[in-house]
Each structure stands twice: as structure tokens, then as C-alpha cells.
Amino acid sequence: MSPARNLAEPAAPARPLLSVAGLGKSYGGRIGCADVSFDLWPGEVLGIVGESGSGKSTLLGCLAGQLAPDRGQVIFDTAEGPQDTLTMSEPQRRRLMRGDWAFVHQNPRDGLRMGVSASGNVGERLMAVGARHYGDIRAEAADWLGRVEIAADRIDDRPRQFSGGMQQRLQIARNLVTNPRLVFMDEPTGGLDVSVQARLLDLLRGLVRQMGLSAIIVTHDLAVVRLLADRLMVMKDGRVIEQGLTDQVLDDPQAAYTQLLVSSVLQV
């Protein structure tokens, strides 16, 4: 296990990890997202909130290379220096997706191989980047399953024998095993009940802090961003209407829509 990057490393990164400028995508005449610009710095967690249909998932898809945007730039700080991920070659982008990036889907079925054992799922990314020693792959997989609190005796079970919360934790282990630098998460707690959500958030928060991960989290759940995100972007109708520090935006919302969003959270 290579040591996780932690926050104690020499500080003051010289340039942002991800720099987005003027990103836009339309679906025919309809706007998916328009004119999105922001910088994400190493170790930072950015939350993107908004109601359904506000363009959050379109934006995430464009950033993660799953959708082709119509306009703009997405510059990622690769090992060879900053590069526009939209114009780079397909093999290069795939290498990023296998190593430096990770994508946690809302539905674990989209991110896991349901017919492959839990350890095989975790090991896939290792094998994709060239690991060829069965014992090492298995040890690494076991280590990661432990970190996401999956019991050692479930290591060879298939994901379809797991509960929803376990599947989501497995998906996280599978994504983080190669020590990615940037994690995209699309509604990571969607479809889970609240107590399972709380445990998952706790786990995620621990991993993000411990590994010094940068992450972009798309969600409609304000509690998730309150816990995880350093910075927040609020989207409506495909545009960013407000952004700032999470606490600032949630405690003192400026835009009318953000005020509505914050006030519509049920207090128990």
C-alpha cells in the first residue's frame, strides 16, 4: 500500500488541480449547462447542488469525460503538466480515468461488475494499470475492503449478495484503490436510508481527509455538502447562480433560489 497523500505534505500548491472555463453543453435547443467556470485546488472538496434538471449531472459528465461539451475548457493538472482533457487523445483520457480519476455513481450497479467478486471488483483498477501478482492484488483488495468496513469473509462474495450500503462502500473502495487525485461523485448517498447514509458520509469524510483527496460531489442533499464540501456551487437552469464557502452559502444565501433551497430542508 503506497502511503496516502495527507494534508501535512508541503502546502501551498502552485496551481489548481482542475481549471474549468466557459464550459457549456446544450441538448438541441435546451441548455444542459452553460458558462460554468471554476478552479478546484488540490485537497479541496467542491459540492454542486441544485434541484433535479438543473444541469448538475450534465456538468459532472462533461468534467469526467463521459459527455462531450459544446464549449469551454477543462484543464487538469496531469503528471506531464496542465492539459485540456477535452482535446487530449482517447488513450490519454482513459489513462486518467483508470489512474488519476475516479467516478462514484449514484447507483452502485453502474459502477460495479455485479458478476465479479468483491475483491475482483477492487482489483480491476490495479490490474488495469499493470498489477500482475495475484497475492499482492488480493492483499491490497482485502486492505481496502477493510477500510470501507466490509468484513474479511465477504471478500469473495459477489456484489449482488451485498446490501445497498455495502455495494456503495464497495464502489468507493474500487475507485480509491489506485490512489486517484480527483474523485467525481454523483449523489453518492442517493437511495440509501438515513442511518446508512450517515455511516457512509462518515466514512467518506474520513477517507477524503486522510488521503487529501480532491473531489467534486453532485447532490441535491444539502446535509451531504454541509458535511463534506469545502466550497459550494448552486446551479439552476444550467447556470451557476451562487458559489462560495459551504457554510457561507448555506448560512447566508444571497440568491433567491438558494434561499428557497436552504429553507425547504425539513427540520426534524
Binding site: 482517447e90 488513450p91 483508470r98 467478486s117 475482483g120 501478482h133 495475484y134 492484488i137
Partner: protein
């Protein structure tokens, strides 16, 4: 009236010349890019899919009147599939046939490589049911093509990993995936993994035809072919731990034959020509009778 004459009902080797030309182009491309699956316009053949329609088309495109054809099915020359295909080409091409590996200039095979080493003058044609080694791991053809193009082969090892995790060893015993010339991962057709080492550095030209899937691929002579494995679980060519009961050979691939319903069984060479010639040369196994 022999096939090829102007008044014969068939063109030489059944297919028309334009079709053979199309298939030869695919074969040439396959030879130029070893292990790459070349699409081709597979024709209806007078036999069901799964009976060797791909192999038959490749054979038809390669045959010349001087050829001597051998057809084997799981190593045997005398099973239905082998006999029918041999007859088919006797009738439609009028070429000579043989059961002897060394005499054949073209060998069509289903799921075996002959035990006798092949030479540079021979062509080995395989019948392939499913040419895509990644098929059962990634069902989307658009995606597997991309994976081949980008050498994105991590998934292939996931299959082997699962084997070890479940069975303690790589349990895949046939259609064992190989990497050709450090580039393409290829399905060697369902040959037993015992035959995998013979794929590599073989003197003969090896052609693979998949009729239903409409793919042709090839291994030119002396191509490096490596069976995939893990560092701590290396590839092993396996066979039944026994000698042939008819000819006594200890180094050939064996079929198990059930003799009665009281557990009686015998092991015989799957390559019938190899076994016959050994017996003719005086080798006798423990259940065999001297020739």
C-alpha cells in the same frame, strides 16, 4: 465433370470467385495485423452455424487444386463433422484428402492442434465459435473494440483473478486467452490449454474463421504468442495424468473414454492420426494390442 469445369454446378471450392477474393483480403489483413479480428462478409454455407461455417469459408478461400486437405474434429479424423467437411470439399473442389498430418497441405481443425509439429508448407484453419475474448466480461461490441484499440486489457486478468479466487488455480482449461506479438489479446478458439504453447512460434500459417460472428484473424508463421497469467500463478499446460492406453504416448492430449457403468475407463490420444502412426511403429499402451 469435375468441379471447376464450365459445366459443373459448383465453382471450385463452392464459393464464387468474388467471395473468395473478399475473404482473401480479410485473411491478408489478418496476417498483416496478427491477432486483430478482421470483419468480413460471412456467407450462408450449407451447414448450420456452429458447425464450422467460418473455418469452411477460410478453407475454401485458401484451397488450390493441388492441395491435400485434412479435417479434424477434436483431434479425430473420423467424427461426423470432420467426415462431412472432408466430403464437402471432395465434391465441390475435387481435391485430394488425407488423414495423415504430415501429408496435408491444409488442415481444418475444430478445437485441437495436431500433435505432430507443422511445417512452413502447411496452413492450419481453426473453426471459431466466439472470436471476442472479452465477450463474457464486456458484452458491448463497441466497447470491446475500443478496449482492443487502446490495449485496455485489465479486464482479461479480472477473469483469471476470479478463477483463482474461486478455484484456487486458473481453472480456465480451454479457449485460454493469449496475447499475440505483445499487442492483441486473442481467443485461440476452444482448443485445450495444453495446445496453447503450440500456437507460439509455429512454422505453419494459422488462420481463424468465425462464420456467425463474421470475423477472421490470423497468426503468421513464427509469431510470439503468450498465454496470460499472474506472476505467482504462472500458465500451465495441463492434460490427464496418464499415458495413452492404445499407443503408450505420455506427451499427447488424452480423451477419457467410459467403458462400462462400473467405473471402467481408458485414456486415448485425442489426435487419432498421431495414435495410429505410433501404433503402426510398434508402440503399445497397457490396453492396446500390438498392430
Amino acid at each position: 465433370m469435375s468441379p471447376g469445369d464450365s459445366d459443373s454446378p459448383y465453382n471450385f471450392a463452392y464459393l464464387d470467385e468474388d467471395t473468395k477474393r473478399m475473404i482473401r483480403r480479410a485473411i491478408l489483413k489478418g496476417v498483416a495485423v496478427p491477432g486483430y479480428q478482421v470483419p468480413f462478409a460471412s456467407r450462408e454455407m450449407p451447414m448450420p452455424y456452429g458447425w464450422g461455417t467460418g473455418g469452411v469459408q477460410v478453407t475454401a478461400a485458401c484451397l488450390v487444386p493441388e492441395d491435400r486437405l485434412k479435417v479434424i474434429d477434436q483431434g479425430a479424423d473420423d467424427t461426423t463433422n470432420a467426415v462431412s467437411i472432408r466430403k464437402f470439399f471432395e465434391r465441390t473442389a475435387g481435391i485430394a484428402t488425407t488423414e495423415t498430418t504430415t501429408e496435408a497441405s491444409l488442415i481444418q481443425t475444430r478445437h485441437r492442434i495436431p500433435e505432430t509439429p507443422l511445417t512452413e508448407d502447411q496452413i492450419l484453419v481453426y473453426q471459431v465459435p466466439i472470436p471476442e475474448p472479452l465477450r463474457f466480461l464486456e458484452p458491448r461490441e463497441t466497447e470491446t473494440r475500443k478496449m482492443h484499440a487502446l490495449e485496455d486489457y485489465g479486464l482479461m486478468h479480472v477473469k483469471l483473478y476470479e478463477d483463482i479466487a474461486r478455484h484456487g488455480a486458473i481453472a480456465t482449461s480451454y479457449a485460454y486467452p493469449v496475447r499475440v506479438g505483445d499487442r492483441y489479446v486473442m481467443d485461440p478458439s476452444p482448443i485445450p490449454k495444453f495446445d496453447n504453447p503450440k500456437l507460439s512460434d509455429n512454422a505453419a500459417l494459422q488462420l481463424f474463421g468465425a462464420g456467425r460472428e463474421q470475423r477472421i484473424y490470423a497468426l503468421p508463421p513464427y509469431t510470439k504468442v503468450v498465454s496470460l497469467d499472474f506472476e505467482d500463478h504462472p500458465f500451465q499446460a495441463t492434460k490427464a495424468e496418464h499415458d495413452c492406453d492404445l499407443c503408450g504416448a505420455s506427451d499427447s492430449y488424452l480423451d477419457e473414454v467410459i467403458l462400462d457403468d462400473r467405473g471402467g475407463r481408458m485414456f486415448v490420444c485425442s489426435d487419432t492420426d498421431f495414435c495410429t502412426r505410433r501404433r503402426a511403429a510398434g508402440h503399445v499402451g497397457c490396453l492396446g494390442e500390438p498392430a
